[in-house]
Symmetry: C2
Subunit: 348 residues, 2 copies
């Protein structure tokens, strides 16, 4: 059998209540008693029964972090930062919390199911990262679910995700539109007029906002967009490779390619090189996010840096109640244009 609180109590010659109080440290216990209890805990190798404790206390030390793709550093970096603030072991926070990251794979159903699972566990907080799926039924289901979570006392924080109206969820939103605009303006400033755009998956807020920023810039400079210049794909390298070939096929005269994110941009670079085009001499390329590897591309990628780690850390602190939420519960996190070697003036 496993050791229980009662066993420890017997060994320390105190009541179970006292052992519990020593372990939780939320009630005065005489130093000598405490020591006796701790010794017994040690000798018996006692490990608290989490479920029993959560049940009785009606609280849990679980904190969930939802990510779309754990293999993507975009999420990895944020998740790592969040987790480090949540405390978990080694965190500066007192109470040890189990920060767990859940991989939704970008699927709305899994997102919802994970939330239910966390709700089951009476999670102390939940942090949702990355863009949301824009789809009426799902959005409604999400809103309802989030509301239930907050009603049940779970703190909900959105990191790099648009606010959820009708909820008390705190939102740290990335200014994807502004970043997209700045990026395209940079290219336009270099003289580009024929710009291909590789967008992310449809029905995603991130995709839409970045694309809108791009189009805003185009419009602001009186550039009429050719529908053939936009291709949708996934947020990965391969998708960028294929989309670029497609763009080139549709209009070989493009002088720049703007990608939905850095991974896609790297795929684009590969496709351009394989097509015998030089970067940026023949075609300029730009990404988004400024992931760690982007600076290692040759030429280094022009992109928009998003303070993923900082935002994640802040989201983590807010989730732990260790930092005040922004006024109104909503904050916009801006990106910073990083001009590097992959963008230059158009040829000719």
């Amino acid at each position: 059998m496993t050791v229980t609180l009662a066993d420890v109590a017997a060994r320390a010659q105190v009541s179970p209540a006292t052992v519990s109080r020593v372990l939780n440290g939320n009630y005065p216990v005489a130093a000598s008693t405490r020591e006796r209890v701790l010794r017994a805990v040690d000798e018996l190798d006692y490990v608290l029964n989490g479920p029993a404790s959560s049940l009785a206390a009606a609280t849990s030390d679980l904190v969930g972090i939802l990510v779309n793709d754990i293999a993507d550093p975009f999420f990895g970096v944020m998740a790592g930062a969040i987790q480090s603030e949540i405390g978990g072991p080694g965190g500066r926070a007192g109470g040890e919390r189990l920060a767990v990251v859940c991989n939704t794979g970008g699927s709305p159903e899994r997102e919802l199911t994970y939330l239910t699972l966390l709700q089951r566990q009476r999670a102390a907080a939940v942090v949702l990262t990355g863009g949301a799926v824009e789809n009426v039924p799902h959005a409604a289901a999400m809103t309802a679910k989030l509301r239930k979570l907050t009603d049940a006392g779970t703190r909900v924080v959105l990191c790099g995700r648009p606010p959820e109206p009708e909820t008390t969820a705190i939102a740290l939103t990335f200014d994807n539109r502004g970043g997209g605009r700045e990026l395209t303006e940079h290219l336009i400033g270099l003289g580009h007029r024929r710009l291909g755009y590789i967008a992310g998956p449809e029905e995603r807020t991130t995709t839409r906002h970045r694309l809108e920023g791009h189009r805003d810039a185009l419009a602001a400079h009186g550039i009429e967009e050719d529908p053939r210049w936009t291709v949708h794909g996934r947020y990965d390298r391969r998708s960028g490779y294929e989309a670029t070939l497609e763009l080139l096929r549709r209009d070989p005269s493009l002088t720049a390619v703007v990608a939905a994110n850095d991974s896609v941009a790297l795929g684009a670079c590969a496709a351009l090189r394989d097509s015998g085009l030089r970067i940026p001499d023949d075609v300029s390329v730009a990404g988004f996010d400024d992931l760690p590897f982007s600076i290692d591309a040759v030429p280094a990628l022009t992109t928009v840096r998003l303070p993923l780690a900082e935002a994640g850390a802040r989201a983590g602190r807010i989730a732990m109640g260790r930092e005040e939420p922004p006024p109104g519960g909503i904050a916009t996190v801006r990106g910073e244009l990083m001009v590097r070697g992959s963008s230059g003036g158009p040829r000719g």
Copy 2:
């Protein structure tokens, strides 16, 4: 108040026991009754109380995945694969399990603490990924902890980590030594005789095994190693950059640099370029792991591909009891040499 089982039972006009059985589906319930119960569950928006359930059933649906660095795709890819097999929402497995990944940051203490936390939660299984810390007290503590976990019925699987003797933990170990040997042999075959080596952090099995493979190859070809040719660092890009500058300072005549992993190799490439050296004309570079971005480096990285996703998936299935463990509980997973543009014959 939150809705409880009893509320649902009242609404469906059955006993709590019946509701529980409907929800768990492990006991015959008349179709009509089941339907009535499910309707009540739906109408009341009932969500099972996880802790209570775990307590009563003395089991939990939590599965822990420990990683050293969640922001590193090496772990991200494995974690994603493991999680997808664990089931979680959308997994093919029947019982829904909460697969959670815990970021140890490579710290032994956090590793231990996370294991305790998972032990508290009576986790159904735990998967440990990546190399272990080689340090007598810590190793002993780990062994003891793992033994306790398995004794308590938690399945323990090691993925990309050496076996833990004295435990019943299943191990899927990467053949880091063999990969390291092959890689260096490839370089030697190209004619290199002066090879720098950027090793990972000390006291790590992965670091040691890869380095040993490298030295085995050197020895096998009668190449005497200069102690100045090895530098230790972290498993990241920056470390690779700095270590390379250091190597160049110590011996500018090196014709090849072997890195502990791909991130380090990219840092090495950057350092070489910044030093005015061409790859591979002046210096060849090789990495390890074959992470997704490695093929995008220019020139593409010569490296050893580790089947991270496959190994992770297998580890996940074993953890779920859905696949037979390998005979003896130990399997070695081999890497595959990927020769690409970053390696070539030495100059001159």
